[in-house]
């Protein structure tokens, strides 16, 4: 469904992506994993057309979308829930959701109403405060609204960038449950996450990025069992040890 081949994206003189290749098949949840600065968000922004790759190609449903404008890519059916949620702060919850339906130019009022009801069924809370303004919402509510807005586009694929970031553990579980549910109703998902374990638990396959390159790609089950993955991305234990060591080093350095 989505095929990304060898894309190289630059921020001015800095090369953020050094030939990223990945693919997402219809109906899948694919996890895009990696540390901070590995190029996960850059990959998403390049797929959506906000950033333009210098090399490589992006194909969606057998259409070459490399270099297309973001507005047009949204229209042909790639929805994105970017990092930081990006809810319009001065608009109401309902307005934010309705704007999500922008790509559906030919949809009737009834169809959009149906989709709105579907979003409200997934996130009952949103219906309760549909008149509230974006800036009045809490982090968890913002994330629900952001995903809901993404769903309103009726797109075949949803790119989710760090949906669990900054949420309380209970909410993180809730978000992953919803992602799984959305996927079951037919939406393909490319999920960017730092929380590798949680992501792989719901994903079919995963790609691991490191400094702008795909270092590993496999089925989710294999990645969960992979020793290298365990050491670097899955073992919370090692993380803590490393962090402690780093702090000790820093103190020694200072």
């Amino acid at each position: 469904m989505l095929k990304v081949e060898g894309i190289e994206t630059w921020y001015g003189a800095i090369q953020a992506l050094k030939g990223v290749t990945l693919d997402v098949k219809s109906g899948e949840i694919v996890a895009l994993l990696g540390a901070n600065g590995a190029g996960k968000s850059t990959t998403i922004m390049t797929i959506t057309g906000i950033l333009k790759p210098l090399k490589g190609s992006i194909r969606f449903l057998d259409q070459d979308i490399t270099g297309m404008e973001a507005e047009d890519i949204a229209e042909i059916g790639i929805a994105c829930v970017p990092e930081g949620r990006r809810i319009f702060p001065g608009l109401t919850v309902l307005d934010n959701l309705m704007l999500g339906a922008t790509p559906r130019k030919r949809a009737s009022r009834g169809e959009i109403k149906n989709d709105l009801d579907r979003v409200f069924a997934i996130f009952p809370q949103l219906a309760d405060f549909s008149g509230r303004l974006g800036w009045q919402l809490s982090g968890g509510q913002l994330q629900m609204l952001a995903i809901g807005r993404g769903l309103m586009s009726g797109s075949k694929i949803l790119l989710l960038d760090e949906p669990s970031l900054g949420l309380a553990p209970v909410l993180v579980q809730e978000v992953f449950r919803v992602i799984k549910e959305i996927n079951k109703t037919g939406t393909t998902i490319l999920l960017v996450e730092q929380n590798a374990r949680m992501a792989l638990l719901i994903a079919n396959r995963g790609f691991v990025l490191e400094t702008g390159r795909v270092m590993l790609s496999d089925t989710a089950a294999n990645l969960l069992a992979n020793e290298e993955m365990k050491a670097h991305y899955l073992g919370a234990h090692t993380h803590i040890k490393e962090a402690r060591q780093r702090r000790r080093d820093e103190r020694a350095g200072a």
């Binding site: 973001a70 507005e71 970017p82 608009l91 704007l99 790509p103």
Partner: protein
């Protein structure tokens, strides 16, 4: 110092304030959409005044038709202005665009002089020149027209941004352009429409104020500056702030020139501006805004 004189001045102040408010709104809408202060905003009121005078005096176009033509002309003018003064510089910082709007403003002023001459022109009045006597208060009917037209425009604008999806898309574009693009909102179009609408607000201001003042190439500069003061007094970036700031300045100006000094009429707006900047720099309705992340 009787009450009828004071009420007369309130009417005059509300009328002038409405003009400032219309131009101030243009400032704010463009600023919100593209984060740039359009220093040619005053010229957006000067150009339509000349167009209207020319239509009425040279072609004997009836007033209503003149209004329609001028508004349509200014809508297109706003889009062309945007294409020339803003669009090529859209990826640049604040300053190049500001300088570009100042440049186009100078061009427009001198263009007006070249085409229409340096002599001040008078615009035919759509209203009777004799003051209306409303319960003993003598009011120029043009003031009432100005106030009513402004109210109608504000009502339309409220409806447009609150109730229409196009209005929401424009607000979304103003709040987060990148996210708007991700949702498939044609951002460049929304910005062009914003300029067109700001320019139409200028058309309203120019046609409404024309019959009171002479139409000159410099009329835009003074209106533009005072409208800019209004936006700051009201709280920069705030729509209600621009409206109330404009009306506040208009009323203060009329009262101060009567009670304090007519000669310094034009100075009062700036005195208020300085006081507001000293005492409440965020303006009446402004929030203390941190730089956008």
């Amino acid at each position: 110092m009787d009450w009828s004189t004071n009420l007369q001045m309130v009417a005059a102040g509300l009328a002038m304030g409405s003009i400032y408010a219309l131009v101030a709104l243009g400032f704010v809408l463009i600023f919100n959409a593209v984060n740039v202060v359009n220093f040619a905003q005053g010229e957006f009121a000067m150009v339509p005044a000349f167009v209207a005078v020319w239509l009425m005096n040279s072609l004997n176009t009836p007033f209503a038709l003149t209004c329609v033509i001028t508004v349509v002309f200014m809508g297109i003018f706003g889009i062309v202005f945007q294409r020339i003064a803003y669009y090529p510089l859209r990826h640049r910082s604040f300053l190049p665009v500001v300088i570009s709007t100042i440049g186009v403003g100078i061009f427009l002023k001198n263009g007006a002089q070249l085409i229409f001459g340096a002599e001040p022109l008078s615009m035919p009045r759509p209203t009777s020149p004799t003051a209306l006597n409303i319960f003993g208060v003598f009011v120029d009917p043009q003031y009432i027209v100005i106030i009513l037209c402004t109210l109608i425009l504000l009502g339309f604008q409220y409806f447009f941004f609150e109730k229409t999806i196009l209005g929401k898309k424009m607000l979304a574009t103003a709040q987060d352009k990148q996210m708007a693009r991700l949702l498939g909102i044609p951002v460049a179009q929304m910005i062009a429409i914003t300029f067109a609408y700001s320019s139409i607000l200028g058309a309203a201001a120019g046609i409404l104020v024309g019959p009171i003042f002479f139409v000159t190439k410099d009329m835009g500069a003074m209106i533009g500056l005072k409208a800019f003061c209004s936006t700051i007094v009201g709280g920069f970036g705030s729509i209600p702030g621009a409206i109330l700031g404009g009306i506040f300045l208009g009323v203060i100006e009329v009262f101060a020139s009567y009670y304090i000094s007519t000669a310094y009429r034009d100075a009062f707006a700036f005195i208020i501006l300085i006081l507001v900047l000293l005492l409440r720099p965020q303006g009446f309705f402004g929030e203390k805004i941190a730089e956008k992340a």
